[in-house]
């Protein structure tokens, strides 16, 4: 386990006044007795752990989904989710990790492999026989909403293909796409690029690694440290030069901003520069809007749209900028979800022993969507795994708010998830 220092999130256990607010809000302990709640596994259990002790005393912390609702409601600032992640890492360091968690932690590698022959990979993964085998052999829940590989090339393929058409400008922004955009949903990246370009910004997409969050959530801290070191090396220079680094995946940007430095106790100058220079894309677009630099030439979008701000987005503590900007779109009727969590929590809901918990947690959100009526065609959410879970739980297609914005600019076909002709 990472040794403690005075920077360690571990020390925030001292902030706990035992008030139980976290436990009463925890979406996981509300649906299962297997998780005793954030206070118990977090600041309370932490006093009974030490690095290098003969054996890890506890295991129920593994049922923490890492959704961070506890952090959100804690009145005194205990970093409960981070305490839990570090405790899990200690268990992993001691007891090793099942192959499943090793795989789920490596979505970059999976993305790369599948993208070699995406159609084949999709067929190989998404048939009921292999899902059954995956469940029996590896413990990946057969019904869990796994993504499909992009069959029209990766996001970077598209960038290369459209290189000549990309905007050159003195105003530049760096885009962190993350693994899901790269291999599964390149259209999210396309929508982001056309929105940024529409506002006069040249989009720089440097080489980048997985942010490391899936590894962090599964307790593989050493591997995550390597990823983060690479990302710091590749991106900190841009941040130092004053270029904003924006991302469409709220969990990737949260990892660069906060999770990796805190969980790994990684606080050198380049890492801190990157941390301070990273934005959720809507956080940054809202800043443009606030200084009057965001184009508001939106076309009416006559849709009823339930929007769920995912846990990882709320953990940024920036309000709900996507909601604020989508509210500028004429005729778009937004419904704001106050559900705590969709349940999936990254790779949590993929695990066979946690699938039902994830679905039970998500029920609150699924009910909310249902209550919006029959004429809802899409839901919206900033995080990829949450969108997949939303689709799984509601049978409605889900969109990233950047797709909504791109569509309102007239740059994007929301149904086919394509940049409209002339822009691609």
């Amino acid at each position: 386990m990472a040794p403690i220092s005075w920077h360690s999130v571990d020390l925030t256990l001292d902030e706990c006044i035992k008030c139980n607010i976290c436990t009463s809000h925890c979406p996981v302990s509300a649906v299962t007795d297997l998780f005793p709640g954030p206070k118990y596994v977090g600041p309370q259990a932490q006093r009974f752990r030490e690095s290098g002790q003969p054996r890890s005393p506890d295991h129920s912390v593994d049922y923490c989904s890492g959704c961070r609702v506890c952090n959100e409601v804690c009145p005194t600032g205990v970093r409960i989710a981070e305490l839990n992640a570090r405790a899990r890492a200690q268990i992993v360091a001691e007891k090793g990790l099942p192959l499943r968690n090793r795989l789920l932690g490596r979505n970059e590698l999976l993305g790369k492999l599948g993208s070699l022959a995406p159609a084949l990979a999709n067929f190989g993964l998404h048939n009921s026989f292999s899902r059954l085998v995956a469940e029996k052999v590896m413990g990946i829940a057969r019904k869990a909403p796994l993504p499909t590989w992009s069959t029209s090339g990766t996001f970077r393929d598209w960038l290369k293909r459209t290189r000549d058409r990309r905007l050159k400008s003195n105003k530049k922004v760096v885009y962190f796409h993350g693994c899901a955009t790269m291999y599964y949903e390149p259209f999210i990246g396309k929508a982001a690029v056309v929105v940024l370009e529409h506002n006069g910004y040249e989009v720089i997409v440097p080489e980048q690694n997985c942010c490391g969050l899936p590894l962090l959530s599964n307790g593989e801290f050493d591997a995550a440290r390597n990823y983060h070191r690479n990302n710091v090396g590749r991106l900190a220079g841009y941040a130092r030069a004053g270029l904003p680094i924006v991302g469409t995946s709220t969990s990737c940007t949260l990892t660069l901003k906060e999770e990796a430095p805190e969980l790994l106790d990684y606080h050198d100058e380049p890492a801190t520069t990157l941390k301070l220079g990273t934005y959720d894309i809507f956080e940054w677009l809202r800043e443009l809007y606030e200084v009057g630099e965001l184009r508001t030439d939106f076309q009416p979008l006559p849709l009823k749209l339930p929007y769920h701000a995912p846990c990882q987005q709320r953990a940024h503590r920036i309000g709900k900028p996507a909601l604020e900007l989508m509210a500028l779109i004429p005729e778009l009727e937004l419904a704001e979800s106050h559900a705590r969590c969709c349940g999936i929590a990254g790779t949590y809901g993929y695990k066979v022993e946690k699938y039902q918990i994830a679905m039970d947690v998500g029920a609150e959100l699924f009910e909310f969507v249902k209550a919006q009526g029959q004429d809802v065609r899409y839901t919206a959410c900033d995080s990829e795994t949450c969108r997949w879970q939303l689709e799984h739980g509601t049978a409605l297609p889900s969109r990233h708010p950047i797709e909504i914005l791109a569509a309102a600019y007239g740059l994007y076909d929301l149904e086919r998830r394509e940049v409209v002709a002339g822009k691609r």
């Binding site: 040794p3 403690i4 220092s5 005075w6 020390l11 256990l13 001292d14 902030e15 706990c16 006044i17 035992k18 008030c19 007795d33 005793p36 206070k39 118990y40 600041p43 309370q44 259990a45 932490q46 006093r47 009974f48 752990r49 030490e50 690095s51 290098g52 002790q53 003969p54 054996r55 890890s56 005393p57 506890d58 295991h59 129920s60 005194t76």
Partner: protein, 582 residues
């Protein structure tokens, strides 16, 4: 008046008294131990928990050092589960004098304390928060000890060997026979303070193991014993900043030991000569000093969450000594009053350390046997107490058991992981008069919220048990019958198998749940007022809202009753009022 008779009457239910009772009972003597409050209520329950390797005294007091290392080795076997094998460091900070470390190393070698200088890198790897300016680190076999549990199991072992342990029995007077020059102590008149009944105990030998109170006891027989009451203040931080005992490598002084015990780390201590062993008032300068010195070992300690401050009074003894208590010897002192004062049948055992309690008991009972004219060898060094087979305590012990047995839903004290079954078993196995007795038994209320969430729960449980006991009184005697098993008192998993508790029907404060509640809150509050800032202040504000605003506790009727604990927490208030008046 109830009358009892015995071979050996032991006065004092601290580590030494329990040790004497155990040793004497193992040698086949009839033993009665009396303690005016709960076991470990005095100095034993207020010490920092260091199982000395002897390193601290190697240079200054080699005799104490030898006693410590020998006893350290023995207690690791006989009381294994009361001890955590943390190991200890002696660290040289920039302030520590030049040649002491080398003298220290040589002195350790001379008295036989294993002591190895370890590379700094290794020390910082094991203890990342240590002062980075530390220049040398020596490793010694220090440990940390649970003096509550150790004393309770020692008393249990004594009881299993036939001893009677009477708590809340205060000595009113020693019974003497004969005239000056040929007097003899033949027992004592004691008062059951809970029920107000007097008991006369006739004893062939009376052992005064009153600790800091030993002078007062001896005075009852007209014998002058000048115990030097050396008050030590300790401060606990909310979690273990270190997992190894950290000592400054210098002449023993104030605030130079940091001990990880259970879930906390304790910085100690001061050493102030006081007039009265019950004078436990804590001055701001004492807390300041502890924190300032603590920062020299672990920089930042003073800014971490401070949980509590308390004081204990050492029973130091040095014949004819009049100097500072810090410089008085830590060696044990066995006073044979026949030889010393011409009063036979009476021994006083004092001085020493917690670490040497077993040795103190051995020497005392050797003398008892000599005076009784019997020859029986001491067995305590080779007789493990019940529970020792569990092996050394480790920090994760309770959490591990709660997890394995899935007891999360049964927690009463969430901070220290005390289950309902542990509370009920403690009540069944140990005479329980106040909630503070439960604290010593199972660590109730000792964590971050300092009783905020467990006090009302525990008061409710005791009340419920009490009602149950009134409906179906247990058939057993007050101090007989029930298996007095405390070996697993601190073990959540073992306790779930305990049978439903029976309650001592004669114990009166239990009739009044309001009193139980108020007394315990006040007792906790007393240790919080000296450190009431920052994060603990936030906690207390929440506790205040719970108890004063929601529960209106300061207006609960208590029918003017008082318990032994009431007297204890009121002591400060009364002493403070006196000072204000001056």
């Amino acid at each position: 008046m109830k009358r009892m008779s015995t071979d050996v009457l032991v006065i004092g239910g601290g580590s030494t008294g329990a040790g004497v009772a155990w040793d004497a009972a193992l040698r086949g003597l009839r033993v009665i131990l009396v303690e005016k409050r709960d076991l470990t209520h005095g100095t034993t329950g207020r010490y920092h928990g260091l199982l000395h390797s002897g390193g601290r005294y190697a240079v200054k007091d080699p005799q104490s050092a030898i006693e410590c290392i020998e006893e350290n080795r023995i207690l690791r076997r006989t009381h294994a589960h009361c001890i955590e094998d943390t190991g200890g460091f002696f660290v040289v900070t920039p302030e520590d004098e030049g040649d002491y470390p080398d003298r220290f190393k040589a002195a350790c070698a001379k008295v036989g304390i294993p002591c190895e200088e370890i590379p700094l890198k290794e020390a910082f790897r094991r203890e990342p928060l240590l002062n980075p300016r530390i220049s040398r680190v020596f490793e010694v076999p220090d440990g940390s000890a649970d003096s509550f549990l150790a004393t309770h199991v020692t008393a249990q072992a004594a009881r299993q060997a036939g001893a009677q342990i009477l708590i809340y029995h205060e000595v009113i007077d020693l019974l003497t026979e004969g005239s000056d020059g040929d007097r003899r102590v033949v027992g004592a008149r004691v008062c059951d303070v809970v029920h107000g009944e007097e008991v006369r105990i006739d004893a062939a030998i009376t052992v005064n193991a009153g600790g800091a109170w030993a002078g007062k006891i001896a005075a009852m027989a007209g014998v002058p014993v000048n115990v030097i009451p050396g008050k030590g203040v300790m401060v606990a931080v909310n979690h273990r900043l270190v997992n190894t005992v950290i000592n400054r490598c210098k002449m023993p002084a104030d605030g130079d030991i940091l001990v990880p015990v259970h879930t906390v780390a304790i910085i100690g201590t001061t050493d102030e000569r006081v007039s009265d062993p019950e004078m436990l008032t804590i001055e701001p300068w004492e807390v300041d000093l502890m924190l300032r010195e603590g920062d020299k070992l672990v920089p930042g300690l003073s800014r971490s969450r401070i949980l509590r401050a308390w004081a204990g009074v050492r029973p130091l003894y040095q014949e004819g000594y009049t100097g500072e208590s810090r410089d008085a010897t830590r060696a044990l002192a066995l006073l044979d009053h026949r030889q010393r004062d011409g009063v036979s049948g009476f021994l006083t055992i004092t001085g020493g350390k917690w670490t040497t309690f077993r040795l103190m008991a051995e020497k005392t009972v050797d003398k008892v046997c000599e005076q009784l004219g019997v020859e029986r060898p001491c067995l305590t060094a080779t007789t493990p107490v019940p529970g020792a087979e569990q092996g050394h305590y480790w920090l994760g012990h309770r959490l591990h058991e709660v997890e394995e047995a899935r007891l999360q839903g049964d927690l009463i004290c969430e901070c220290e992981l005390v289950t309902r079954a542990m509370v009920e078993q403690a009540v069944a196995n140990n005479p329980t008069v106040t909630l503070d007795d439960l604290r010593r038994d199972v660590r109730l209320g000792m964590g971050p919220c300092q009783g905020g969430f467990c006090t009302f729960r525990a008061a409710g449980i005791l009340h419920q048990l009490r009602l149950h006991a009134q409906e179906a009184p247990p058939q057993t005697e007050v101090d007989g019958g029930l298996p007095w098993n405390v070996a697993y008192l601190q073990s959540p998993r073992h306790s779930v198998q305990a049978k439903p508790a029976a309650l001592n029907p004669k114990v009166s404060p239990l009739d009044n749940p309001n009193l139980l509640l108020r007394d315990f809150l006040q007792e906790r509050w007393r240790g919080l007022t000296p450190v009431l800032w920052g994060r603990q202040l936030k906690q207390e504000r929440l506790n205040e809202l719970i108890y004063l605003t929601i529960m209106n506790v300061d207006h609960l009727p208590e029918d003017g009753e008082a318990s032994p604990l009431t007297e204890f927490w009121r002591f400060d208030a009364v002493a403070g009022a006196k000072e204000d008046g001056r």
